[in-house]
C-alpha cells in the first residue's frame, strides 16, 4: 500500500489526477475501520490531513463554508447557531474521539445512506465544492448521493468544501438508534423551516438507498401552510395535516430489513420523528417570534 502525502491542495489534485484510484484519507474514521477489518485494501492512500487550508471554515453572506478537513466537533462547538440541524446531527456521530477526527467531507465521501450529516445538509440547503486538476465545480447536495456508498465525485475529484446555507428559521434533527449513544442510525429525520421562502424542508436518512428529501411531504405541508396563512399567523399546522405530513415523509422511505432494524420499523419510526420534528420546529418558531395574535 502506497501512502501519498501531498503538501498542498494543488499537489493533492495532481496526485489524484495521476492516481484516480487513490483513496482520500482525512479523519480515517470510516476508512481505517474498513482497512483494519480487511474489507478494503486500497493500493494507494491519499492523506489530506496535512493540508491546513482544508481545516478552515468561514461565514459568507448567507452560507457557512466548511473546509473538507473540518471535524464534527468544530461544527458542534462553533456552528450550532448558524447550522442548528447540522450541529445536532454532528452531536450524534460516534464518540467524542470520533467527532474529534471525523470530517463532514468524509461523511459525504463515504456517502453511506446512514451518514448522520446528510439529512441536515439536505434540509438546510448545501452545495458541495468539488475540485480536480481540471477545475472546480459545485454539486447541490441533493445531487451528490447516487446510491449506497456512491457519490457524484469523478475519479479525479476531491471535496474541497461544503457551503451550507445559514438557518433562517428553526431546524431539527432526530435519529433513532437502538442504543442511547454511539450508534449508527436505524433511521433519521431532519426538518427545517425557511420563513424567508415560506417553505419547509424534510429529509430522511438510513431509510432509503440514499439520504433524500421527502418532496411530496414538503409540497403537501407547504400548501397547507400557505392556504391557512400559517407563516403570517404563526398558528401551527392543523394536527390532521401534521399527521398527513408525517405519513408522507414515511412514504418517501424505501428501507431495507437488516440487523439494525426492520423496514417496517424504519417506516414507522420515520413517521414518528417527522411528526415530532415538525411540532418542535413550529413550537420553536412560535417561542422565538412570539405568539402572533
Amino acid at each position: 500500500m502506497e501512502f501519498l502525502r501531498p503538501a498542498t491542495w494543488r499537489e493533492a489534485l495532481a496526485v489524484k489526477a495521476a492516481h484516480p484510484e487513490a483513496v482520500p484519507l482525512a479523519g480515517g474514521t470510516d476508512l481505517m475501520v474498513e482497512i483494519n477489518f480487511d474489507r478494503r485494501r486500497p493500493e494507494r492512500l491519499l492523506d489530506l490531513s496535512r493540508l491546513t487550508e482544508l481545516r478552515d471554515w468561514h461565514r459568507e453572506s448567507d452560507t457557512v463554508r466548511i473546509g473538507a478537513g473540518v471535524p464534527f466537533h468544530t461544527v458542534i462547538d462553533r456552528l450550532a447557531a448558524e447550522l442548528p440541524a447540522l450541529a445536532m446531527a454532528a452531536r450524534t456521530v460516534g464518540s467524542p474521539q470520533i467527532r474529534n477526527r471525523a470530517t463532514l467531507a468524509g461523511n459525504l465521501g463515504t456517502a453511506s445512506p446512514a451518514g448522520d450529516a446528510h439529512p441536515a445538509l439536505l434540509v438546510a440547503g448545501a452545495d458541495v465544492e468539488v475540485a480536480s486538476a481540471r477545475g472546480t465545480r459545485t454539486v447541490p447536495v441533493e445531487e451528490f448521493f447516487l446510491g449506497p456508498k456512491r457519490n457524484a465525485l469523478a475519479p479525479d475529484e476531491l471535496i474541497r468544501s461544503v457551503a451550507v446555507r445559514t438557518a433562517t428559521g428553526p431546524q431539527q434533527f432526530a435519529k433513532v438508534g437502538t442504543r442511547n449513544a454511539m450508534v449508527i442510525a436505524v433511521c433519521a429525520v431532519a426538518l427545517a423551516l425557511h420563513p424567508d421562502t415560506r417553505t419547509v424542508r424534510a429529509a430522511i436518512g438510513s431509510a432509503a438507498p440514499t439520504p433524500l428529501r421527502a418532496r411530496e411531504a414538503e409540497k403537501f405541508l407547504n400548501g397547507v401552510l400557505a392556504e391557512g396563512d400559517h407563516w403570517a399567523t404563526g398558528r401551527p399546522p392543523p394536527p390532521a395535516a401534521a399527521t398527513r405530513f408525517a405519513a408522507l415523509v414515511a412514504a418517501a422511505c424505501a428501507p431495507v430489513d437488516d440487523v439494525r432494524g426492520s423496514a417496517d420499523y424504519r417506516r414507522h419510526a420515520v413517521r414518528v420523528l417527522a411528526r415530532r420534528t415538525l411540532d418542535r420546529a413550529w413550537r420553536a418558531r412560535t417561542s422565538t417570534e412570539g405568539a402572533p395574535a
Binding site: V176, A269, V272
Partner: protein, 801 residues
Amino acid sequence: MGVVPPPAGLTQRGDTAPDASGGIGESPHRPDGVLKVTGDFAYASDLWHEDMLWGHTLRSPHAHAEIRSVDTAEALALPGVHAVLTHADLPAATHYGLEFTDQPVLAGDRVRYQGEPVALVAADHPETARRAAARVRVEYAPLPVVHDEATATAPDAPVLHPDRDDHHAAHVPHPNVVHRQPVLAGDPTHAVADVVVRGDYTVGMQDQAFLGPESGLAVPAEDGGVDLHVATQWLHVDQRQLAPVLGLEPERVRLTLGGVGGAFGAREDLSMQAHACLLALRTGRPVKMVYNRHESFFGHVHRHPATLSYEHGATLDGRLVYVKGRIVLDGGAYASSSPAVVGNAASLGVGPYRVPHVAMEALALYTNNPPCGAMRGFGAVQACFAYEAQMDRLAVALNMDPVELRRRNALTQGDTMPTGQPVDAPAPVAELLRLVRDRPLPPPRPWEVDGGVDPRALPGGLARSSLGEGIVRGVGYGVGIKNVGFSEGFDDYSTARVRLAVVGGEPSATVHTAMAEVGQGGITVHAQIARTELGVSRVGILPADTSVGSAGSTSASRQTYMTGGAVRHACLAVRAEVLRLARDRLRRGERVDWRGDEAAWNDPGLRLVGGEVVTPRGEVLAALADVLGDEAIERELEFRHRPTRPFDRATGQGPGHVQYSFCAHRAVVDVDVELGLVRVVELAAAQDVGRALNPRAVRGQIHGGSAQGLGLAVLEEVLVGPDGTVRNPSFTDYLIPTILDTPPMPVDILELADEHAPYGLRGVGEAPTLSATPAIVAAIRQATRLPLTRVPVRPEHLTGT
C-alpha cells in the same frame, strides 16, 4: 532476548488510609487499576519477542460443509511464510474439549460452524500471514444446516457427531442432544392448582464482549517443550488439553498468564492456544497470535440461546403448588461446557422459590450454530428470565403485588431445593426483595432541568428522538439463584503457595497461585488475606503460571471462595510454622528477651498482627521479624470445597451444588412507547455476599453483572441466520451498553455468613447478571402492557413492527 511480559511481581501495600491494615473487609486499591486507566497495563496482545512470527487462522465460511481438499502450495510459496498447517499436519491428538473431546484442533473432513479453524499460517508479518491464508485453497461441499430443535432432532437430521463416545452419549434421546437433565420433585403429575399460567420464552445469543481479544505468545523451549504466555481463565485446563494435542508431557507445556482484558466465560475454552503452540513447535520460532474483534466473535463460545416453556400452578393465596418447565439450549457445533450448563438450568430452573412439585427438563442441542458454552450466569440466566416472567404473569392472574407473591414463596434456610438438596446456609430471598422494594423511587421526568430538556436523560439520548414525547415509566422486579463453584461431583480445588520471610528488615509475604486475574480483583483479595492472616503489610503477588498447582477456573463465582480459601489455608499453615519455630527457639533458650511464658506461646489463639506475635488479649509477645530471622517459611496447599454429587440421570436428585448466591433487582425504566426505545433510569440491587472481603470490589461486581444483564435485556444479541452465519460480528452492530445506557445502580449488601465457606463468604460475580434482565423487562412490560417473551427486547417488539 526473551518475552516482554505483563507487569510481574505486583507488590501491594495496605495503603488506603493511615490506620488501615489493608486486610479483609477493607477496600485497598487494586494494583492494576491505575495502569489500566492510564493505558500502561500490558495485555497479552502487547506481548513481544524479538524474533517472533505471527500466526493467522483460516476459518470456514460455511456453517456445515464437507472439506473435499485443502491445497496449501500457493500459501507456502509466498515469501515470508514459514509454515502452513492443516489437519493432516497435526502431530498427535486431533481433538480437544472441556467436557467432551469433540472439537478438532483444525477441521478434518468436515466443518460444523462458520468460523471453524481449517488452516494455520506463520509468517514474519501479520499482513503476510493474512495474505497467505487467503491463498490456501479449500474445496467445500456444503451440507444441510441444523439450526434449531426441530431440524436437529428430525428423523432425517444430519448427525453432527456420529461417533460419540462421551459419558452422556448412551442416555441422550437423540445423538444431536449433547445432554439432557430432568429434575423431578413431589408429584407434579397429580398436583392441582387454583390458578395456572403458561408461557413460552426466548433468550437470544449473548456474547461475553470482553474488550481484550484472544491473544498469546508461544515460545519453543530448548527441552522440546513450549512456553505459552496467554490470556486465559484457567491455565491448568489449557495445559491439560494442550499436552495431548502437542504430543508433549504436561510438564513441558508451561503456561504463564498474560494480561487479561476481561473473560466472563469466553476464555474457558481454548482459542489460539493450541494453534500458536503448534506453529511455534513447527517453525522453532516464537509465534504470536492476536484476534481482531471480528475474529474474536468466531473465536470463542457465546451464551446459549434458549427457548423455555413454563407452567406455574398456585393456590388462590399465591402459594406455588407446582412448576413444570422445559429449557432447550442451543449448544452449537461442539459440546464445550454445555453439559454443565444443562445441569444448572435444570437444577436452578424454578428459581429461588419453595415449590413442592416440580417437573423440569433441560437439554442442550448440537447444531451448526456458533458453539456456546460458559458465560457469566451459566444456564441460570436463561431460566431466570423465564421463571421471573412467569411470577409476574402469576401475580397478574392472582391480582397480587409481584413482590408480595415472590416473598410468599421465597426460599429460605432450611428449605429443600427441587434436587432434594437442603438449603443449609442463609437464603435471605424475601429480605433482598424487601430491600430493593423499599428504596425511594427515582423522581419522574429526570430530563426536565432548569426549564429546559437534557436529552441525555431520555431514551435515545442526544439523538433527540424524544424530548419528552411518548415517554411512559415502568417499574419491575427480579430475583435469582446461582450456584457457586463447580458442581455435580467435580473435584474442584485450588492451590496456593505462600512464603514468609524478612525482606529489608520487614516481614513480607509472597503469594503464588495459578489463578487467572481477568479483572475481577482476585490478586487484591489475595494480598488482603495474606495481610490479615500473617499480620504483614507488604505482600508480593507472583505471576500466575503452571509452576504452581491448579487454581481452577476464574468462573462460577468461585475464585475468592476457592483460591482465596487456598491462600488463607496456606497462610494458616505458614503461621503455624512461624509459631512452631518461635517455640523451638524459646525452648532452645535462644530468645530470652521475648515476652510470655510457655503457656502463652502455646495458646491456640495466637495471631500475627502488625508485624508482631499477639495473644488473644492483645499482648505483644515478639516481633515477627525477630521470630523469622533468616528463615523463609513456605507452604503450598490445596483447598477443596465440600464435595458434591452428580444429579440422578432420571430424577435430578442429589446434593449437586456447593453454595447458592442470591441477588434481587428493581428496575425503573422510561420507555418511548411510540419509538420503542428504552432508557433504564435506575437499577437497584440487593445481594447477600456472606462476607465482603473487599466491599468496593463487591460493588464493582454487582454493577458489572447488572450492566451485563441490562445488555441482555435491551441490546445484546449475536444474530445468526438460518444458514448458521453470524450477521453482526462487530461492535458496530453487536451493541453493548455505553455509559449513557448504564443508570445509577444503588446497592444493598447483606453479609450473612455461610459457615461452610472461608470467612463465611459467598461468590459474588454471577448472581447480579441473572435478575437484572427480568427486572428490566418487567419494567418495560409495565410501561407498555406488552407480554414481551423474548430478550433482548427490540424496538420492533415494542412497536409491533
